[in-house]
Structures are given as structure tokens and as C-alpha cells.
């Protein structure tokens, strides 16, 4: 299904369109923090993150299931950022954790594509905000269909071969807790998407490869990676 930036995934429950605003939580998967080892206590970080660390995938990054993702010239491979995406259904400000899920319209798959980068000290905009670097889809599955968003298996296939698995049970902040902590300082609006966390080590993908991210009960997000010169 084609997805033009800022809209166009048809939904059976309100909101009927995505807002085009996509936020992501960095280091919210247990394995992502573990992968950094003791470096989290060394400069420049000096301590583990306390509040949610967020990033934004701007509108130029949004892409549909099936859209080719361009590997920039001079970059050998890209990092796959497979995450469960929470679609907000109601204006969400200062939510209590106990009731946070009532504000969720549904779920989809987000691929937060990045140019691999070693440092998380500064916002990695040139690595994360390139055109087409945020495929999402394949459709929004209504909340009622997913009994428990905190126990979903994510599988990543490259050219049909299973390369990695992850589970949302390993989120440091489970979905409801993350929504509560994020909406403490910023309101989320209907149609906004929050990618809840990427597992590490994340697979790398090269031009010419076909990527599929599968989440139980949500479906498969498939994209082919192509060379910039192609």
C-alpha cells in the first residue's frame, strides 16, 4: 500500500490518518544499553540515561512498505532499526501509566534506518534524518487486536533469511510506562507514532538486499535497499 508522507494509512478506528510525526525512544531495549557496556559511565556520557532519550524521524524520512530505501553514496551499509510503533489515538498529555494504553489507537512496524554511528552524545540528524529513512507499515493494527504489546516477537529477515529476533518484553520502559514518561513533558496527538525501542546488535543492510521486519500480529514490513547511483 503506498504511503505518501504525512498521511494515507487507512485505519478502521480513529484516527483515520497518521499525523506524519514519528518519535523514537533510544536505548529502550535492554540489549541496546547492554551493548554499550561500561562506556555509559565514561565520558562523554558519564551516566546511564535517566529520562527517555528521544529522537524524531522528520517527514522527509517517511516511506511506505515496499518503497526502495536509498543507501547514500559513500556509505557501505545501513543499520536496521526494527521497532514496534505505537499509534496514538487520543490527545495524550501527562498520562498515568495505568491508563496510558487507553490512548493508543493501534500498532504498526517502524524501521528507524540509520547510517551506523558510534556515538550517542549528539543528536545524529545526518545519520537518521535522510530522505526515506523511516519505512513504516504495513498497516495500523487496532489496539484491541494486540492483547499485550509488551510480549511481541520481532523477526528481521535479509533476502529471506532470518538474521535477528527481538522481543518487546525486553523494553526497559514497557509501552505504558514509556507513554507516561514521554507525555510528562510533551503532548502526543492522534496519529503520532512512537517507536518504542530497537534491539542491539542491529543487523546491517547493503544495497541490493531485501529486508523484511515481521512482528507477531502486526504483519511484515518489506523494503529493498538500493544504491544511490542506481
Amino acid at each position: 500500500m503506498p504511503l505518501s508522507p504525512c498521511s494515507a494509512i487507512a485505519m478502521e478506528e480513529p484516527p483515520y490518518h497518521l499525523s506524519g510525526r514519528v518519535y523514537g525512544a533510544l536505548l529502550n531495549h535492554r540489549t541496546a544499553l547492554q551493548a554499550l557496556g561500561d562506556s555509559i559511565n565514561q565520558p562523554p556520557y558519564r551516566a546511564a540515561p535517566q529520562a527517555p532519550v528521544l529522537y524524531i524521524k522528520p517527514r522527509n524520512t517517511l516511506a511506505a512498505c515496499g518503497a526502495p530505501v536509498i543507501v547514500p553514496s559513500g556509505v557501505a551499509e545501513l543499520e536496521v532499526g526494527a521497532s514496534l510503533g505505537v499509534v496514538i489515538g487520543r490527545p495524550s498529555c501527562n498520562l498515568a501509566e495505568e491508563r496510558a494504553l487507553e490512548h493508543v489507537a493501534g500498532y504498526l512496524i517502524v524501521n528507524d534506518v540509520s547510517v551506523p554511528h558510534l556515538s550517542y552524545y549528539r543528536p545524529a540528524i545526518p545519520c537518521k534524518a535522510r530522505d526515506g529513512f523511516c519505512p513504516l507499515g504495513p498497516c495500523v493494527v487496532p489496539r484491541a487486536v494486540i492483547a499485550n504489546p509488551d510480549n511481541l516477537t520481532i523477526r528481521i529477515y535479509l533476502d529471506g533469511e532470518l538474521r535477528a529476533t527481538a522481543c518487546t518484553a525486553q523494553l526497559l520502559r514497557p509501552v505504558a510506562k514509556l507513554l507516561a514518561d514521554v507525555t510528562d513533558f510533551m503532548t502526543l496527538s492522534p496519529g503520532d507514532v512512537l517507536a518504542v525501542g530497537v534491539a542491539q546488535p542491529a543487523p546491517r543492510v547493503r544495497a541490493g538486499q531485501r529486508l523484511c521486519i515481521e512482528i507477531d500480529g502486526i504483519g511484515r514490513l518489506e523494503n529493498t535497499f538500493v544504491d544511490a547511483a542506481a
Partner: protein
């Protein structure tokens, strides 16, 4: 041409700033109504797309915060919920020690830009306005710093008071910026002291991402940031762009 967006008597209107016959500052709505500045609710002057902000883009301010000059521009993004119009209120959470304003030149993109060269960059600008990009330093952590809890708080990025046509600004690289807290001048600078000027920023950003009409670049702030408290009135002023008012309020108004 200066174009504002205001709410008045049940609708949202395009409006132009105008002095009223009695000498007060006011606005002329497109339907002919003339109203005093206080009689309308000021909204951010446009429906904003991607909000791109620069940190440490003035050498003196970078020194003030004890940062070395970074090699690549320090860029971060903001969402639409953080925007606020002229004469709005911004919450200062109880218990924070250091919250400060940042007076910045805001550049509004008017035409898509991808791989634009410096010499052509200003052709992609629709206009300019003032931004006051509040920061709460207490919440700084060293992960994707400055992170959204510091820079993307609800109602903590004031934009306006109106959009000024690019054609009316002879040189965006030579504008004085000033901030007043309760009438006292606390921050002063000139856009000529940017480390990366407006054409350089458009060239840099469009080298890796497509900029689209409605995207806004907040170009960073000069030295002179001091703490603000509940009740303070903060005015950010830029030559030829106007004066952008904001008032700091406490948790109580928000039921916290």
C-alpha cells in the same frame, strides 16, 4: 509584507500588524476588522513542517556554555507541540534551577531544497520570524544532547509574532537580536556572528535531507542567557522582525 495568524471571535484569521487610529498596536484582519494586539490570540504564524534547530551556532554563546566549537553544526529536531504564539505563556516546572530563553532568527523554507549550493540558498527562503527557544538545563543528559525533555517541551518554543517576507529583509546576516526580561536588556547579538550563517545552514541541511516549504530552521542564540522565573515577562526582539512577548508561569495553571 508581514503576516500573522490570530484567533478571534471563534475563528482563525490571517492578519497584518497595523497601528490603530488611537495609536495602539493592533492588527488588520483580512475581513476588515481592526483589533488591538491584546484582543486577539496570537498563533504561530504558519503551519510548521519539520522544525530544525541549531545549538552553539554563535561562538560567544558556545564559550559561555563551556563547549568547544564543534566540527559539524549541532542540529536537533523539534515537534509541533512545542510551538507557541506571541503573547503566550510557558510553564516553568517547580523545582528547576536553570531555565533560560534563547532569542533566535527563524528561517522559513518556501521552496523545496535538496543539494542546494550556498549561492542559491536564499532563493529557498519564504521569510523570517523570531523564535524564543526555551531550555531547561536541569534536564540535560549526555544522550543525543540536548534531548527532547530539554528542548521539545509543550509550549516552550515561541514563534512569531508574524512572518516577514524574505524580500523585505535585505540581509539576514546582519540583524541585531536582543532579549529583555521584565524590561531589562539581558541578551544582545547580531546574526553576523553565527558560526554557520543562513546560506551555510541551508547548504548543509539540504546536503543530506530534503527541506520542504513550511520547514523552519531555528538558527541558534548568542551569549547572554540567564535564568527566568515564574511571573517574568520575556521579550525577544530582532531588527525588522518585531518583538516577541512571552510570560513564564508556574505549574498551578496546568493542574500540576
Amino acid at each position: 509584507m508581514k503576516l500573522a495568524r490570530v484567533a478571534c471571535a471563534g475563528a482563525i484569521h490571517a492578519a497584518q500588524p497595523q497601528q490603530l487610529s488611537d495609536g495602539r498596536s493592533g492588527v488588520l484582519l483580512t475581513d476588515g476588522r481592526r483589533l488591538a494586539e491584546e484582543e486577539v490570540v496570537w498563533l504561530p504564524p504558519l503551519e510548521v513542517g519539520t522544525i530544525i534547530a541549531l545549538g552553539l551556532n554563535y561562538a560567544e554563546h558556545a564559550q559561555e556554555l563551556a563547549f568547544s566549537r564543534s566540527e559539524a553544526p549541532l542540529v536537533f529536531l523539534k515537534g509541533p507541540g512545542t510551538l507557541l504564539g506571541h503573547r503566550g505563556i510557558t510553564r516553568r516546572p517547580a523545582g528547576v534551577k536553570f531555565m533560560h530563553y534563547e532569542c533566535e532568527l527563524a528561517v522559513v523554507i518556501g521552496r523545496s531544497a535538496r543539494g542546494v549550493r550556498r549561492a542559491d540558498a536564499l532563493q529557498h527562503v519564504a521569510g523570517y520570524c523570531i523564535a524564543n527557544d526555551y531550555t531547561i538545563r536541569d534536564y540535560l543528559e549526555n544522550w543525543y544532547r540536548p534531548n527532547l525533555r530539554v528542548k521539545n517541551r509543550d509550549g516552550a518554543t515561541v514563534l512569531g509574532p508574524w512572518l516577514v517576507d524574505a524580500a523585505d529583509i535585505a540581509d539576514p546576516g546582519n540583524l541585531d537580536l536582543r532579549t529583555y526580561v521584565n524590561g531589562k536588556l539581558v541578551q544582545q547579538g547580531n546574526t553576523r556572528d553565527m558560526t554557520n550563517d543562513v546560506p551555510a545552514l541551508i547548504e548543509y541541511l539540504s546536503s543530506f535531507m530534503t527541506l520542504t516549504a513550511g520547514d523552519v530552521i531555528l538558527t541558534g542564540t548568542p551569549e547572554g542567557v540567564v535564568n527566568v522565573d515564574v511571573g517574568d515577562e520575556v521579550v525577544c526582539e530582532i531588527d525588522d522582525l518585531g518583538r516577541l512577548h512571552n510570560t513564564i508561569v508556574g505549574d498551578q495553571l496546568f493542574g500540576r
